[in-house]
Structure formats: structure tokens, C-alpha cells
Symmetry: C2
Subunit: 331 residues, 2 copies
């Protein structure tokens, strides 16, 4: 890994694996942020091994988004940027290259210390920084804090790892507040809503510390819920992506709708886009797919896009006070 | 079929089939033009049978675009708007509802008569009007013309049926010119380029007759080819849709590129969109997927998008004079 490359694509490991396993064809799958590097990485692997390479060009937003179709055509799929989600029938052929970050986290954790008010701190991060959690805890402990790291459920590969759809590492942690190490708002917002506790963000890339403020997103979600209160027809979305498929939940939501005298249709698809949903004339949608979809693409759909807990509020089966982010939990 | 509904969705047949076969779950898949009717059609089927229904919300542009993922969840899939493409491993569970049109074609064929200069006329149409070919031939024959209808290859369900990616019904027809009955430009343009013969369009919806003029599209394609002549790197696109999958062709094109000292990457995906291809930095793309993609979306990609025959021209393995539309042929 060169000093100018903050992420470890493990090219030497990949080359060794290919030389050992002698596959005829390998696949490479990258999340959106790494796709531009795909051809250069393919060049390096190809030059060193001569193996035939297929690059997945499907959109990819997580380990949930494993390219199942490419698996029919390759002996090994290298899936970059995510940790394995949980064992499934596809795992055998897939090697997850987690692209760990070499970025130092100690500076921003030190910067966070004066902002931390409690003593017992729940610490979490994404897989990119998971190897840096011991560094973070060492600093916290040197300042007399306790560093608590949750194990998480079966979807979680590493203690302290948080996903955009799974905050289980925060479950039952007897802490005063949380420290999230990473960039982005979504994961710490989810933890804030799931736990009701204070969450600090320490971003090692921008070197900034800030406190999560869930008020804006709660207003936005409340507006979506309010706009759905008169809905008579619902389109319940099920993604067929292996890690997003929740047909049983969709069926339960449909039954719930019907119990309340509403009409619901189950719509299945791979990727969900606002354009594609234009064709369906319903009063509101409910997404059982990626929990981020309704949040990140708010206002871009032709009808309000609810999460399952929000739908329960709309239909009168959940209190407004119990509004949280949707999660896809394991065991 | 009511007089206000020009297409036959065969709802009674579908209901009878469900009552006979007693499936637990059925799927409905519609092409883009019919998707808006999906929920109303689901309502009618549901009211009559009580069967559980899943509606595919994936984009659908042909019988090639069978929703394979939904098949895991349904006992029968009703696929609307297209004729069966050819037998494949998915066919067993799929019933193709061709949505034949009841629209009269005789008026526009009569209108075409003065424009027809030859004696032997090759007649063709899409599956929607396929039942009206005898009416068309009767009129032509009453005017002293010969009506020639090609059988087509294994992808073609009915004599005289033309697809946007298969003009095999025009093959070897000993005719003076062609008459295409239908709306749209793409199919008759393809026949014009494939055969070099005159093609008349008789549009039964607009009641207009016009002659195909391939000059504009040829200029456009020539510009795309010209813009690719300096390309050193190519992204060769393979769709994993069952009816669009041409991996062997992609491998041949990659070899051809390498033979000429160029670099080529094989990129696999389900749906191809201009946004998605932005991430790949190559000098030109070659689509082995739906042959319409490069034509219909011209100028919308970040690099020139070539068809396979156009790529052969770029690489120097085909003459400019041999430029035709790409086809996906059967046996």
C-alpha cells in the first residue's frame, strides 16, 4: 500500500489467491466509490496472473448487493469495500476485500475527548476503520473513559462494526454515550434514533468532531408520514438482492394494510429507482429493501416512500414516538 | 375485450388458468408501456381468484427481459406484451400474454397500395398485429401483388413477426420491397439496413404510410464510429438478462481488440444505464446487450457506445459499407 493510497485493495493477496486456486475466470465487484479504479485493478491482476476477468457494472451499495448473476460466470468473485454480511449460499465463491483504511484515527479521537461528557463510551465504526478501534480505545482509556464495543448480531462481521441497516452493535451497551468513528451522517443518525442516546461523530478524513442532531431528519420523516396518512393504496417494495430480500415482512405489511381496509400491492425488483416507480399509481410506497433508500432519496419518488416502521405509524399500529430507522437484522 | 381497449390482456384466460392450476403465488410482468395498468389488472385477477400476486417492477423491454428473480417466488409468471422468444430453462413457469391488438389494419394497408412500386411484397409486423397479416395479404393480393411472409429463425414465434433485434423474417425473401405494419421506426429501419431494399411503414394507429429513410440514422452511427477511431481502451458490455446474454461474442470482440493492440474490459450487468457507465473510464463502449441500446440512447453515454458490427468497423475488420444494425439471432 503506497502512502498516497489510503485504502488497501490487497492486490498481492488477490494475485496469490489466483495463482493458488487457478480459476479460469474471476469477477471483480466494486461499490460506487471504488468503481473508477476497476479497470486499473483489473490491469494489475491480469498482468500478474493472465486470468480472465469480468468486472461487474451493476450498482453496488453494500455486501447485501452481491452480484448474483456474475457468479454464474466466474470461479471466484472478489467483492470490494464491504465485509461479509453473513453466511449464505453464495459465500463459497465470494472473497470479500474489505479495503481497510490506513488513515490514522487517533488525532480525531483526541480532538473528540473534550466533547465527551460521559464516562462509559460505546465505540463503533465502519469496516474500513475497524482495525483502528484498539487505537481509539487506548486514547479513551488513557483519559479515564471506559471503551465499550458491542458484538452485534449475525450480520456483523466484527465487534464494533456498524452498517447503514444494522445498528446491533449498539444493542444493550450500558454506556453513557456513543462515539462513531467515520465519515457520513447516516450510521450515527441511526444509532441515535435506535438508542435515544447522544452520539458523537469523529471523522478521521476531515478531522472534524460533531454531535449527531436527529431533528432535521425527524422533521423530514414526519412530513413523509403526514403526507401518507390519507393513503388508500400502497405499493410494498421487495428487492430481490440477496441481502435485502424481505418477502415475509412485505406479506405482513400487506396483511396489516388489508386489516385496516387499505389496498396493497407487492412490487418486486432488483434496483429501485424513482424513475421506475413512476409507472405505479399508488398513494404511497413502503420499501422493505435497503433502509437507506427512503431516507436518501426523500422527495424523489412520485408518492411518499415509507420505511416499514413509518408505515406502521401511518396505519395506526405504532406510536409516532417510536419512530426509528428501519434495520435489517440478523440473528 | 371492450371496444375502448385496443389490446387484449386475456384476463378471462388468466383467471381460468389460475383456477385450473391452483398456484399459490403468481407474478405479473409488464413492458414499460403497460406497467401503469398493472395494479388494475392485479385487482381483477385477485378479485376473481384470491391468488397472491407479485408485480415485477423491473424495467422490461422485451421477452429477452424475463424477470428471472421473480421466478423464484411464483408458481406462474404472466409476461405481457411479448411473444415467447425461444424455449429456455425458464419457459416452463412463464405464460406469455401477447396483448394482441384489435386495431384494424386494412385501412392503412389500402392507403399504402399507391405507394407500393413492386409486385412481390415482403410483409411483416410485431406480435401485436400478427393476427392481422392475413387481412393485409388479402388486400395486397386483390391488387395483384404477391404477399411473401418469412418464417424467421428460432427466436421468432410467428411467421412475419419482426423483433427490434431480429429481422430474420426478411432473410432470403425474394421480394421487390417490404411492407411493415406497425408503429415505430426501429424495426423497419433494421430491415432496410439488413436488406438494402425499400421498406414502407403502414401505421395502423396513426393511419399513416411513410417510406423508411435510413440516411439520418446512418449519419448518426457514422459519427459514433468516427469518434471511436482513436480509442485505445474499450469496455465491452454483457447483459446477464437471459435473452441478451452474449458472453461468447464479448470474448471474441475482446480478442479482436487485443489482436489490434487495444485494451478491452468485459463489463457485466443487468440493466445498462448512462449513469452507471459513467464510472468506467474507457475510450469507447461496445454493447453486446440489447441492440437498440446504442441506437436509442445515442449521445447519452460518457463515451461512444458502439454495436458489435460498428466495433468491427472501428477496429478495421469490417468495411463501412457493411454497416448494419446488430441482431440477436437464433438458429
Amino acid at each position: 500500500m503506497s502512502s498516497s493510497e489510503p485504502f488497501d485493495f490487497r492486490i498481492e493477496y488477490i494475485i496469490d489467491t489466483i495463482k493458488d486456486a487457478q480459476p479460469s475466470v474471476v469477477g471483480l465487484q466494486f461499490p460506487e466509490g471504488f468503481k473508477r479504479r476497476g479497470t486499473a485493478i483489473a490491469d494489475r491482476i491480469s498482468e500478474a496472473t493472465g486470468v480472465e476477468i469480468l468486472i461487474s457494472a451493476n450498482p453496488c451499495y453494500g455486501a447485501c448487493d452481491l452480484d448474483v448473476a456474475i457468479l454464474d460466470n466466474v470461479d471466484i468473485l472478489f467483492h470490494f469495500g464491504h465485509a461479509q454480511l453473513d453466511d449464505n449460499k453464495y459465500s463459497e465463491k465470494v472473497i470479500f476485500i474489505e479495503t481497510r483504511s490506513d488513515t490514522d484515527v487517533t488525532e480525531v479521537v483526541r480532538k473528540a475527548i473534550p466533547e465527551i461528557t460521559g464516562k462509559r463510551i460505546g465505540v463503533m465504526t465502519t469496516v474500513q476503520h475497524i482495525g483502528k478501534l484498539p487505537d481509539a480505545c487506548e486514547i479513551l482509556e488513557a483519559e479515564g473513559k471506559e471503551c465499550l464495543i458491542g458484538r452485534g448480531d449475525s450480520k456483523i462481521a466484527y465487534p464494533g462494526q456498524v452498517l447503514g441497516c444494522n445498528f446491533s452493535v449498539a444493542d444493550g451497551l450500558d454506556c453513557d454515550e456513543y462515539l462513531y468513528i467515520g465519515s457520513g451522517q447516516f450510521h450515527p443518525l441511526g444509532v441515535s434514533l435506535a438508542t435515544g442516546k447522544r452520539v458523537l461523530i469523529a471523522d478521521p478524513f476531515s478531522n472534524e468532531v460533531r454531535e449527531v442532531d436527529p431533528r432535521k431528519i425527524m422533521k423530514q420523516r414526519s412530513a413523509v408520514i403526514a403526507n401518507s396518512l390519507d393513503a388508500e393504496t400502497f405499493g410494498i417494495l421487495v428487492s430481490t438482492k440477496p441481502g435485502q430480500y424481505r418477502m415475509e415482512l412485505a406479506r405482513q405489511l400487506k396483511e396489516l394494510a388489508e386489516k385496516h381496509g387499505k389496498t396493497a400491492y407487492i412490487l418486486t425488483m432488483d434496483l429501485i429507482t424513482p424513475d421506475q416507480m413512476l409507472q405505479f399509481r399508488v398513494d404511497a410506497f413502503v420499501s422493505t429493501a435497503c433502509p437507506r433508500l427512503a431516507i436518501d432519496e426523500v422527495g424523489r419518488f412520485s408518492a411518499p416512500m415509507l420505511t416499514p416502521p413509518e408505515f406502521e405509524i401511518v396505519i395506526g399500529e405504532r406510536e409516532w414516538e417510536e419512530l426509528t430507522f428501519d434495520e435489517i437484522r440478523g440473528e
